[in-house]
Amino acid sequence: MFAKTPEADFNCDYPGYSGLWCRLIMAVTSYAMTNNSVAVIHGPANCAWAVRNFCQTDYSLYYGNPFLHMPVTNIDQDDVISGGADKLIATLKEVDRDYKPEHICVFDTCSTALIGDDVQSAIKTAQKDCNARIDYMSSAGFTTPPLGKSIEQTALSYADMMEAPSEKLENTVNILGQYKEQQDCSPVPGKKKCKNRRKYKDDASELARFVEGIGLQVHRVLVSGNHDYIKTAPQAMVNVISCPTWGFPLAKKMEEQFGVPYIKQCIPIGIEPSKKWVMELAKFTNKQQEAENFIQKELDELMPVFEKTKSFVDGKVALIECGRNSQTAFARPMALALALQELGMQVRLFGLHPLELKAKAMDYEYFMQEGFDPLILDGNYAYQQPVNIVHVIEDLGLRQAGYVYFTQDIFPAARGGVFDPASAPRVETGVHLRRVLNAPARGVGFKGAKALYENIIEAVMFSARGSRPTLYGRVHGGFYENF
C-alpha cells in the first residue's frame, strides 16, 4: 500500500483530499504549547480567525495549554499589492510593547507567502526595538497540504529557536513529540495546578516516569515551556522520541545542528514496546540494571490484568479505525495494533487515507524496521468520508463477539456508523482525547497498557450484558472490582 501510494504532494490523484488542518493551524497550535509567548499571524484577519476558531471548538481537541495570544497584521488588498513588511514591523513593535512577552513567533500565511514578503528582514528590523526575541515559522497553508508534512516542517522550526549548549548535563533526557503543559498547567494564572485530574497518566508523565524510573532526569519535554526552556534543550545528553511525526524531524535536526544523539523510538503501548523503549534508553545511558528492576516491578503489577484481558480477546479481530476524514492518525493506531497483537488479537486497520500514510513516512519506516506489517483494509471505502463500521464488519464477515472495535476519536462527531454499543464492544483509541483536560484518556507505557486492558475488559463486558450502560454505572459503578 505504501509503495503504491504516490508521493505526499497535493495532487490531482486524490481530488477528494483536503487538509482541514492548514499548516498555519498546525504551526500555531504547536506554538500554543509554549509559555509567555505571542504568535503574530502575518496575514489577513480571517486566517487568524480560522486558527482561533479551531482552537476553541471541538475540532481543536483542545490540548489543555494556556490561552495563546495571536494578534494579526490584518493584511488587506493594498498590502498584498504593496507588500506587508512595514505592517509586520509595526505589529511586532506594538506586540512587544503591549503584551511584553518573552518570545514572539511570526507565522506567515498564503497571501504574504505568495507575494514573498521578506519576513526575516522585517523581523531583523523590528528586533532592534523589541525586548522579546522574535522567531519565524514558515506556515503558509499551500506549501504542505498533507497534515504529516506540515507537522514535519513545523517541528523543524523549533530547532531554529535553540542555542548551541555551553555545557552538557549528565544523565539528562529530552522527550520529543510531547507536550508538558497539558498535565500541569492551570487555565487561570495563579490558581492551583491541575495535576492528577486525570483518570490515567498522560503520555508525557508516563514517559517521564520511565526516564526517572531508571535513574535519569527529564531535561525538556518538547514542545513546551517558555523560550528559555526550548533554547536550552540541546544541553541534554540524548533525545528520546514519543511521537515520530513530531519527534524524528526535530531529533534529526538537533543532531545535525547541536550534536545531540537520539534514539529512534515510537509511541510505546503494550508490554514489549514499553520494555523496548525503556531498555534502548537504558543501553544508551548504561542503566541496564536499573531498567531491568524497573520493568520487573511494572510487570508484576501489570501481568494479572494482561492475562485477564487476553482471556477475553485472544483470537478475536481488532478493528482499528485510523481516521474519520483526511486527518488520519497512523503512528498511534500502529502502536495500538502492536499492543493488541500481544493480546493474541488479529489486527485490521482501516480508514487510513493513503496520502497521509505517505506523508507520515517516518512512522511507516519505524514500524517496517520493526518488522510489523499489519493488515490494512484498502477497500473501496471513500477517502475523506467516515467509514461505516457496520459495513466493515459486514465486509469482513465478522460474527458478533468475534471482534472489538477500536474507534477513532479524532472528530468524534463525524458519523462513522451507528450501532448499539450494548452489543458490540467498542474502545476509544485515545488518539487525541488524551490531550483534553479531564478526559478519561489513556497514555502510553505500562500505565497506558493497563488502562487499555481495563477499557477492553469494560467494553467486552458491556457488550455481553445485553442492556444499555447507564452514565451512573459507568462513572460510579466500581466496575473492575465486580468481576
Binding site: Q77, I81, S82, G83, G84, I115
Partner: protein
Amino acid sequence: MTNQTRQIAIYGKGGIGKSTTAGNLSAALSCLGKKTAQIGCDPKADSVNTLMGGDFIETISDITRQYGSSETSLNRAVYRGFNNIVCIESGGPVPGQGCAGRGVLVALDLIRKYRFFEKNNIDIALYDVLGDIVCGGFAQPIRHSYAEEVYIVTSGEYMSLYAANNIAASIKLFAQQGLNVRMAGIIGNLRNVEKEEEIITGFAQKLGVPVVQFIPRSELVQKAELQGKTVIEAYPESGQAGIYFNLAAKVLDNREMFIPEPVSKQEVIRLLDLARTEIC
C-alpha cells in the same frame, strides 16, 4: 463593457518601446478626433509621462491605499494630458515587494466597476502593459476581457521576438478558453537590426497575423521624450509623426482580429538564422 469604447492592449518585451508607441498612438488618435484614454499597467507608472508634459501622476494604487477604494478615489487618479487625453496609471509596489500584478487587476476592476469609460464617453482606451506576461496579474487586461484587441510591439531581435511569441501563446490560450481576446497585429519598432523588417514580417506570417506598421528608429523620439512630450506634440509635422498618424489610422480602420499560432523557440531561432544567412 460599453460597445462604444474600443479597448486595446499594447504588449511587448520590456524596454521595446511600448510606452513610446502607446503615447504617440494615443496622441495621434486624439488628434484624429477620438476621445482617448491611456492606462499604464506597470508599477513603474511612467506610461503617460510624455502625455503629461513629463510629469509623473499619482497612481490608483497610491490613492486607494490612502483614501480607500471608491469612485472618488478613481476620479482622483484621472489626469488630463495632451489634447485632453485621459491619463491613468494603475501603479503598484516599489520594486521587490508585494504583488504588482494584483495592483493592475485591482485598478482595472475599479475602472470597470464605476463604468468610467461609459461615463466619460471614451472612444478608445489603450492599456500599456508591463513587459512580458510575467504572471497572471499582467494578463488581466486581456484575461478579464477588458481589452479584446491586442497589438504586440517587437523589434527583430531574438529576445523581443521570443517575448512576442509568449504573449501570442497566452492570447491563443485565452481564446481557446472562450475569451473574446484576439490579436490585431504586430507593430515593428525597429532597432536597426539587419534585415529587421524581413525578420518581423516572417515572424508575423508564422503567427498568422499582419504587421500593422513599421516604426523606424528616429532621434526625434528621444528629443521629444526629453521635453516630456510625444513626437506628435513636439514635432507634429515630422515624418516620424506621420508614421504614428499612419499607425493610428490603421488601428482605427482595422477590424480584422486573429487567433495567433505561436511558434517554437527553435522556429524563432531558425527565422533569425535564415535572415543572417541571406545577409551573408
